[in-house]
């Protein structure tokens, strides 16, 4: 049998790594499961405040509306007619996603209503309007 040139010098196993591996794999599984792949809007808007705002765990598609009516999603500016297409694609990928619309407090209600309509037409029924749970 041919000898190996770079074979280990000793077969000293040292610490048994198996329990550490078990533990690490468990941690890994935890982080994989809790990662929700949030699509951030990419800009900061001046959110309105509301005392009764509730924390939504599952809201992970964020759409931002700026005060001049620009719509931002996934770190880029999109047109109103693209909202539906993008939402349909994301809805097919993960059907239990919910939408949070982050509208600037100076933005028009008409734009907000249009975005809500587009999201609903894309098939996502659960959406909420973002608000800071501040002093109100």
């Amino acid at each position: 049998m041919q000898s190996r040139r770079h074979a280990p010098e000793t077969e000293e196993t040292g610490i048994d790594l198996a329990p550490m591996l078990d533990f690490t794999v468990n941690l890994l599984i935890f982080f994989i499961i809790t990662t929700s792949f949030i699509k951030e809007a990419g800009i900061t808007v001046f959110k309105p405040e509301a005392v009764t705002a509730e924390n939504r765990q599952s809201g992970n598609l964020l759409i931002a509306i700026r005060e001049n009516g620009d719509i931002w999603m996934d770190r880029r500016r999109i047109e109103m007619r693209d909202v539906r297409t993008l939402m349909e694609r994301l809805h097919i990928e993960r059907p239990d996603d919910t939408v949070v619309i982050i509208a600037d407090r100076e933005s028009n209600a008409g734009v907000l209503a249009e975005v809500m309509d587009e999201v609903r037409l894309a098939g996502i029924q659960i959406m909420s309007i973002a608000a800071d749970p501040g002093a109100g």
Binding site: L28, I38, A50, G59, A113, M116, I129, A130, A131
Partner: protein, 137 residues
């Protein structure tokens, strides 16, 4: 060349697979997922939005409480302009008369969203969570 045989070839190599490379790999994956984990908690308010396929909200429906928001941010309840802080009292009074009624918010196209959210907040404080949001020209 059998004389240069290493101890790994012997019968004492009962260690099985070396787990160290796998552990390195798994820890790398773990670090990746820890770093990319984003814990965003966006808080918000839920409102209903009637779709075009459903029947449009009847503006003469006496069952629902109507709140109008004008382009300049004025709030009208019962054909009277009211302050934001008075919305709650109005809603409480009207829901006492008709406990099953929902609230219909009619906002004009240019009405500021901040006012809309404030009104929704006040209606929530007034005890009604069945809010429908609609826009008018």
């Amino acid at each position: 060349m059998r004389k240069r045989r290493h101890s790994g070839e012997g019968h004492e190599s009962s260690t099985g697979i070396d787990l160290a490379p796998m552990l390195d790999f798994v820890i790398n994956l773990l670090i990746f997922f820890i770093i990319t984990a984003v814990f965003v908690k966006e808080s918000g308010l839920e409102v209903n939005r009637p779709t075009a396929f459903e029947t449009p909200p009847d503006e003469n429906d006496s069952e629902s409480i109507q709140i109008q928001i004008l382009d300049n941010g004025e709030i009208w309840v019962d054909n009277r302009p009211v302050d934001v802080r008075a919305v709650r009292a109005n809603v409480e009074r009207m829901s006492a008369v008709n406990p099953d009624s929902g609230v219909l918010i009619l906002a004009q196209e240019e009405a500021p969203t901040g006012t809309l959210v404030e009104v929704v907040d006040q209606v929530h404080l007034g005890g009604i969570y069945n809010i429908t949001f609609s826009t008018t020209q």
